[in-house]
């Protein structure tokens, strides 16, 4: 019963999300013996104004 939440700054294409989901699900099956049908993955694409590193928003000048 894995549940995986993936947050990225910026956006991903549908194709990128499809590939990431397939690979991460495969990783959890091969390494941790989790049946693929058990794995839920959610993506969150976070705009630069909503993500800070080192105290600065990512869309800062």
């Amino acid at each position: 019963m894995p549940y995986v939440n993936i947050k990225v700054a910026g956006s991903l294409t549908r194709e990128q999300k499809a590939k990431i989901a397939a690979e991460v699900t495969d990783t959890l099956e091969r390494i941790a013996n989790k049946p693929k049908s058990y794995t839920y993955i959610t993506f969150e694409e976070v705009k630069g104004e909503n993500w800070a590193v080192a105290g600065d928003l990512l869309d800062s000048d």
Copy 2:
């Protein structure tokens, strides 16, 4: 002080969210003795492109 996060694939109507919030808050009061005013609930409606099960995005053909 419960904090509940509910993620669903797809969307919910305002009416559905209102009913779910009322019922979950009531459940936590009856079963776990949490005063209703202490319970925060947030909803996240996740589009099919951002939720994968078994390695496939939910909006896959």
Copy 3:
């Protein structure tokens, strides 16, 4: 495909968690038409030292 995360301050008995899980899953089926088998719920029991309200840890004197 609902995923629900329930954080409570303090602990719950196994019986309380079983009842809450059953009721919340039922709520999502009745109100939002989510098949019961699709619903994942995780509980997190947070000790008072790790939960603050109004700027004070819950185990404060």
Copy 4:
């Protein structure tokens, strides 16, 4: 390696998010010795229809 997620009901201006990010990152450096470059902060602005307190959505009449 702190990761901080800040959910607020309603919205914040870019300026408010910039100030909050700077202050929280500074707090973690001063109090917990976390180098600023290690701290990731994400903001989520949750509309009233998606946040309930005491069993009522925040945009309720």
Copy 5:
């Protein structure tokens, strides 16, 4: 700046977590062009009493 949270029911060995972290970080670099050093991954190992599927705790009889 990806941040990935992986929750699994039950526990993982340190070796399993090391391999999963390496693979997921590699996936995000290859597919989404995220530099490896930007990726944070946290694991949460959730005991069966704290995870429910279909309304039943995973450690149910």
Copy 6:
């Protein structure tokens, strides 16, 4: 109604958590006009074996 989740690698003393909670709650009041009593903060202290950066667990040799 802010809800803040703070994950750190390693542990914090109770005193550190108390100070961080007080400061972050104050920040949200001053900058975003959130009454202190509305702010919930939870801390999660994540051991090195459960946090990876750049594909390596933090307790790696």
